[in-house]
Amino acid sequence: MTKALDTPPVASSTASALRRSLRLDVRLLGLLGVLILLCVIGIITRPETFPTQENLSTMLRLAAAIGVVSVGMTFVIIAGGIDLSVGSIVALSSVWMTTLATQSYGPFVMVLCALLVGLGCGLVNGVLISYGKVVAFIMTLAMMVSARGLAERLSDRRTQVVTETGFTEFFRASFLGIPVLVIVLALVFVVGWIVLNRTTFGRRTFAIGGNAEAARLSGINVKRHTALVYGISGLCCGIAAIMVVARTTSGASTNGLFYELDAIAAVVIGGTLLSGGRGSLIGTLIGVLIFTVLRNIFTQNNLDTDIQNIAQGAIIVAAVLLQQTTSRRRKRKPATSEPGPQPTQATGSQS
C-alpha cells in the first residue's frame, strides 16, 4: 500500500522495514479514523439526510475534480516538486474546451481539447523546471498567473455555457447507480496507484524525490522524468476541467479557484512529505474525502462557512503535527540505519 519505503536503498533488515511499514499504516489508519469520525458526526447530527445513497454520491461527485487534481499533485510532491498552477490550468482547460468553436466540433473534441491543454501546460511547467532550471515554486507560480490570464482572455471573462447536450448528458449520467464522474475518479486513482507503486516510473519518482543527485548517478534521466511528472499533473488538471464543466455546465476563468491550496492540503494531510521522497495516494484520497465530508456536514447543519474554514485549518495543522511526531520517533529509533534526513537535500537538488 505504501511503497514509500523502497526509496532509500538502505540495507536495513526486513524486520525493521516491516516495523516501519506498519507504522506508516498506523498513520493511514489514524487518517481513516478521522474520516470515519466525521461520518459518525454526520450520521448523528443528520440521521435522515446524511447516510443516504444520494448524499454519498453527491459527496463523491464533488470530490471528483479536486481528487483527480490531488492525484497529479501527489506525483509532483513525491518527486520533490510543487505545482501551484493546477487551479489555473483547470480554469484554462475548462474555458478552452467550452469556446463556441470547440463546442461546434462535438463532445469528443471538447474532451480531447481539455486533455491536450492540461497536458501542454503541465509539460511547459516541467520542461522549464527541469531543462530551464527555473525553481518549481516560481515556474508554477508564473503559470498560475498567466494560465488564468489566458483563460480570462479567451473567455472575455464571461461564463461560457455548454450547449452541447451530448457532453453534459454523458458526464452527468450514472452507470449502475454510480455517477460517471465518480467512475472517472476511481479510474484515475487506480491507474495512478499502479503507476506509482507497481512500475519503474513510480519507483523512479520516489527515488528522485528522495535524492535527485543519487537518482541521477544511478542512471535515471532525472530531467526527462521531472518534466513528465509535471505533465501528469497537467493532464490530471485537464481531466478535472472536464469534470468541473460537466458539473456546472459551464466553463469560466473562475473555475478551479484555490484548487492548488486544497490539493496541497489534501496531499499533505494524506502523509506525503512536502519535501518529497515519501507519500501515499491512498492517504491523498482520504485527505480529499475528509475535506469533502467536512463541507457536506457543515452545510447540512446550516453552519456558517467561517466555522468551516477554522475547522479545516485545524485539521491540517493536527495532521501535520501528527506526522511530525511519528517521523521524529522514527528518526530517534533507527537513527543508525537511515542515511540522514533526506528531505533537505531533495528539495535543494530538485530544481
Partner: protein, 351 residues
C-alpha cells in the same frame, strides 16, 4: 539503426505536437454564428434627446472580471455611442486601487468635462473623487459609494436591501397562492464578508418575517458557477423538503441551476438575482426551476453616462421639476418574471 529510429520517433512526436497545437489554436474562437444583441432602449427622451453642446466624459471602472462588471463597461460605451454629443474617454479597467487613482488623475489632467467613476474600493478612491470635484469636474459615482458626499456630485447605484425584499415578497406571494403552510425557504448567498451580501440577506430575512416566514437552509458561495454548484449540491442533500430557493447572483446561478438539474429535484422553484440574459432566457422558457430574477442591473452604467451628459450640459432630468440632476439615484430592483421578461431583455447581461 537506433539513431534513425529515435530520429523518426522524435519527428513523429514533433509532428503530433504541432498538429495538436494547430487543432487547439483553432478552438480558441468564441464568435457566435449570429449575434442578436437587443439594444437598450429608453435612453434620452423629450427635449433632452436633442444634441446639445459637446461633452467629454471620463470613465474609470474596475477590471471586467465577471459578467456583471463587464456589462457595466460595455453599457457605458454603448450609451456614449448613442449620443452624438458625448465623447467617452475610458481607461482600461483595473483592480489595483493605486492604478485607478492614477487613472482618475490622468482624466482630470486631460480636462474631461464630467467624470464617471465606478471605484474598485469606494473608501480608497474618495480622495481622487474629491480632487476632481475640487478641480471643478462633476463626478458621477457609480454603485460603490465614496466615503464623503464632497467627493461626488451625483451617486447612482443599486439597492441590495431591496433585492432581498423583492425576492422575499415574490417568493412569499407565490407560496401563499399555492397555499403552502410552513414552507422551507433556502438561500444561496454570495461572499458573506461583503456588505452587499449582508444587505441582501438582511432584506430577504426582514421581508420574509413580515410574511411570517423564515429563512431555512442557507449557504454562501463565491459568485462563481463552480462554488454555486458545489454549495447548492450540499444544500439540496441537507434539505429534503424545500419550497423555494433564492440565489443572490446570476453568475453563480449557472452553477446553482446545474446543481438542481443534477439532483433531479422538481419540488421547489428558484429565484435569481442581478438579471443575466441567461437567467431571463430560462425564465422565458419556463421549463426549469427558475421562475424569476430580481434585478441589480448594469443598465445603471448607461444611466450614469446619460446623467454625466446632462451634468455637462447643465440640464435636469426630463420629467422631474428639479432644474438639476439629483444628487442621488437608486435603481429599482424589479422582479423579472415570465410575464414581463420580454420588456427586460434589453438590460439582461451576458454572464
Amino acid at each position: 539503426m537506433i539513431q534513425t529510429n529515435l530520429a523518426r520517433r522524435g519527428f513523429l512526436l514533433g509532428a503530433a505536437g504541432l498538429g495538436a497545437g494547430a487543432v487547439l489554436v483553432g478552438c480558441t474562437s468564441n464568435e457566435p454564428e449570429q449575434q442578436s444583441d437587443p439594444q437598450q432602449e429608453n435612453m434620452a427622451q423629450g427635449d433632452n434627446a436633442e444634441p446639445g453642446e459637446p461633452v467629454t466624459v471620463g470613465f474609470s471602472a474596475p477590471a471586467a472580471d465577471h459578467g456583471w462588471m463587464a456589462a457595466m463597461t460595455i453599457n457605458a460605451r454603448a450609451a456614449a455611442e448613442q449620443f452624438s454629443d458625448v465623447t467617452l474617454n475610458a481607461t482600461e479597467g483595473t483592480n489595483d486601487v493605486n492604478q485607478q487613482i492614477a487613472q482618475v488623475e490622468q482624466l482630470i489632467n486631460a480636462g474631461v468635462d464630467v467624470l464617471v467613476i465606478l471605484p474598485f474600493d469606494g473608501k480608497a478612491l474618495t480622495q481622487a473623487g474629491q480632487q476632481a470635484m475640487d478641480a471643478g469636474i462633476p463626478v458621477v459615482n457609480v454603485d460603490r459609494v465614496f466615503d464623503s458626499p464632497l467627493a461626488y456630485r451625483t451617486w447612482i447605484g443599486g439597492d441590495n436591501y431591496r433585492m432581498g425584499v423583492n425576492a422575499a415578497n415574490y417568493i412569499a406571494e407565490r407560496l401563499k397562492q399555492d397555499n403552502v403552510n410552513n414552507p422551507v425557504i433556502g438561500e444561496v448567498a454570495g461572499i458573506d464578508s461583503l456588505p452587499l451580501t449582508q444587505e441582501r440577506s438582511q432584506g430577504f430575512r426582514d421581508a420574509l418575517r413580515r410574511h411570517g416566514f423564515d429563512v431555512g437552509p442557507r449557504v454562501s458561495a463565491e459568485f462563481t458557477p463552480e462554488s454555486g454548484e458545489a454549495r447548492t449540491s450540499n444544500l439540496l442533500q441537507g434539505a429534503q423538503n424545500l419550497n423555494a430557493l433564492w440565489n443572490h447572483d446570476d453568475d453563480q446561478g449557472i452553477g446553482v441551476v446545474a446543481a438542481i438539474e443534477n439532483s433531479g429535484r422538481t419540488d421547489f422553484f428558484m429565484v435569481g438575482g442581478a438579471g443575466s440574459r441567461n437567467m431571463m432566457d430560462l425564465i422565458k422558457a419556463d421549463s426549469g426551476p427558475v421562475k424569476a430574477t430580481v434585478l441589480y442591473s448594469p443598465s445603471m452604467a448607461s444611466s450614469a453616462i446619460g446623467m454625466a451628459r446632462l451634468l455637462g450640459q447643465n440640464k435636469g432630468l426630463g420629467d422631474l421639476a428639479e432644474h438639476e440632476v439629483p444628487a442621488m439615484l437608486t435603481t429599482y430592483s424589479a422582479v423579472v418574471t415570465r410575464e414581463n421578461v420580454d420588456s427586460y431583455m434589453d438590460v439582461g447581461f451576458d454572464s
